[in-house]
Symmetry: C2
Subunit: 337 residues, 2 copies
């Protein structure tokens, strides 16, 4: 099946200078994809140059006059900028002209616009943001990462279902294990919300592992880690901060004096292998789950390589019927819930 | 002032084989300290050997017949084991025979026993666990780390006060900055509890920085990071998991083949410097704050070096009047709260 992807070319810290080259690189790797570049036509065309001709009808531009600012309040962006590149990209998913949208813009605005335009799936109260993280065993998926700061047990159950369907769709793992982020393994641990969510998950028919703790995220204990958006956001940003600190210390130690600088040259291959293994760009692209359409959020600071990964995630999700999977699973859940 | 320290010698994964040598090493570095080794006399004496004579009255043994198990339910440990080494160590603080207690035992039991025996300070509803973490700029203190999973805004304010007084006492920084862990910098971010806690902290007279995010912990943005125990526990354990994963990957890359193994030898000095800088043993020793006495919890898996750091933290806190500082600050707070 050919997937048509709408790309918000103006979003992110770098705009078309990153989004357009990433789209072209992706078109080169995947013949079954069409891309609609959404944004100010002149800015997009300037980046495209003569390349446009090469892709024929696989590549098109959809002019949009406005741009949502990175710090713009989501409600204002939604109300006032009906011709923003972000809004138009999501509109294309709504109309069926595209099967997925990708944006590196303002997270809050993308969530508000997507929710308003696409609506949530039946049985889903709130969409969630789901990221992929590297683990000792491969990768895991964590949600929610900041869309919802006050979650009920039922919301956490829905996150579990959405996360499991995402893994089923993009990793072809039909019974992914789901863990509930808590402060101990025993069922009696945690606050009331988490305890009740544990009960719901245990009776959900999902492959529920039970409680997991913060260190289980990177151990890769489960395929999906469920938590409320406050906790998930803190866990993710704490990880970012720790990784940056460790990278800084490692660099400092290798540039201490001429001996350590020379050692760094000898150690280049190992250090490069390490860098590749933990390269956060490889995991770029968070899914906005629970909507009636595929929307993927790229990190705002993404470079061409990172943005290409976000595009890939969006295409994989659309190609493997993510929305239909969540929808069908919620259908089964509703009588039990 | 000579500080007398009660050490629960039986706690932790290694018991007296770690706690006793650590106590002796500490006695060698600090002449103004007396140590009471609490535990089964024969087990403690076996570790002491002839060393006991060397320290004269600076070192004594207090026999205790029972041991609290690492997985023992806190309520049972408190009710049934009145002659456990943990209980007797805390009792010595209560009676004034010691100014601080250190244990590497079961965290829940230590908290329950300390709270029952010592009671909380006036104005403090719940004790909190406060750990020190390395940052790009030095170190920071985070609390609560798991004692309290459902916190009110008033509890978070109390954590801020207790954390600030700890830093004032042990780092001689009289106006430490306090940040509130949240999912964005703006005052409107976060759930209701956090928003209200922000209001209380803003009007508290503390040096309140405002909201901080997860990455600010390791950036070292503030001296004290305040959060509820659920979020704090997840942040800490997520950090542990990430650090372990990165260490594993780094080791793997350096043992990939003979070239990288050789590189590791050349890079030894840099890698050792790195390891020292992020050595979690240096930060061992979490303070149980808000009690009418100094109690420090060591990591259960601590080795001699790590346990010695926990002892040092306990002595520093007692020597610099931690309890009196928190008490005095709460006195000032109460009319305003």
């Amino acid at each position: 099946m050919t997937v048509t992807l709408a790309i918000d070319c103006m979003g992110g810290d770098h705009g078309p200078s990153v989004t357009v080259p990433a789209a072209l690189r992706f078109l080169d790797t995947d013949p079954d994809v069409r891309v609609v570049l959404v944004g100010r036509a002149e800015a997009v065309e300037q980046q495209l140059g003569v390349a446009q001709v090469r892709y024929g009808e696989r590549l098109s531009i959809r002019h949009a006059t406005e741009v949502v600012g990175m710090d713009e309040p989501p409600a204002l962006a939604m109300r006032n900028k009906k011709d923003s590149s972000m809004r138009v990209a999501v509109d294309l998913v709504k109309s069926g002209d595209a099967q997925a949208a990708v944006s590196a813009g303002n997270t809050g605005a993308l969530m508000a616009i997507s929710r308003f335009v696409l609506k949530t799936l039946p049985g889903i109260d709130r969409p969630a943001i789901c990221s992929t993280l590297p683990t000792l065993r491969g990768q895991t998926h964590v949600l929610d990462l900041g869309a919802n700061v006050d979650c009920s047990p039922a919301h956490l159950l829905q996150f579990g279902i959405m996360g499991a369907m995402l893994v089923a769709a993009v990793e072809h793992n039909e019974r992914p294990s789901v863990g509930l982020l808590n402060i101990g393994e025993e069922d009696i641990k945690g606050n009331e919300t988490v305890k009740q969510a544990g009960e719901l998950l245990r009776h959900s028919g999902l492959n529920f592992y039970g409680n997991v703790e913060g260190n289980d995220i990177y151990k890769g204990t489960v395929d999906v880690v469920v938590c409320d958006g406050f906790v998930g956001n803190v866990a993710l940003k704490t990880s970012e901060g720790l990784a940056q600190m460790l990278a800084t210390f490692l660099r400092e130690q290798f540039s201490r004096n001429w001996v350590t600088k020379l050692a760094a040259v000898f150690a280049m291959s190992a250090l490069k292998g390490f860098k590749h293994k933990v390269d956060s760009r490889r995991y770029n692209g968070a899914a906005l789950l629970g909507l009636r359409g595929v929307v993927v959020k790229s990190h705002g600071a993404a470079d061409v390589f990172a943005f290409e990964q976000a595009i890939r995630r969006a295409v994989e999700a659309a190609r493997n019927n993510l929305i239909e999977r969540i929808s069908a699973r919620m259908e089964r859940e509703r009588p039990a819930a």
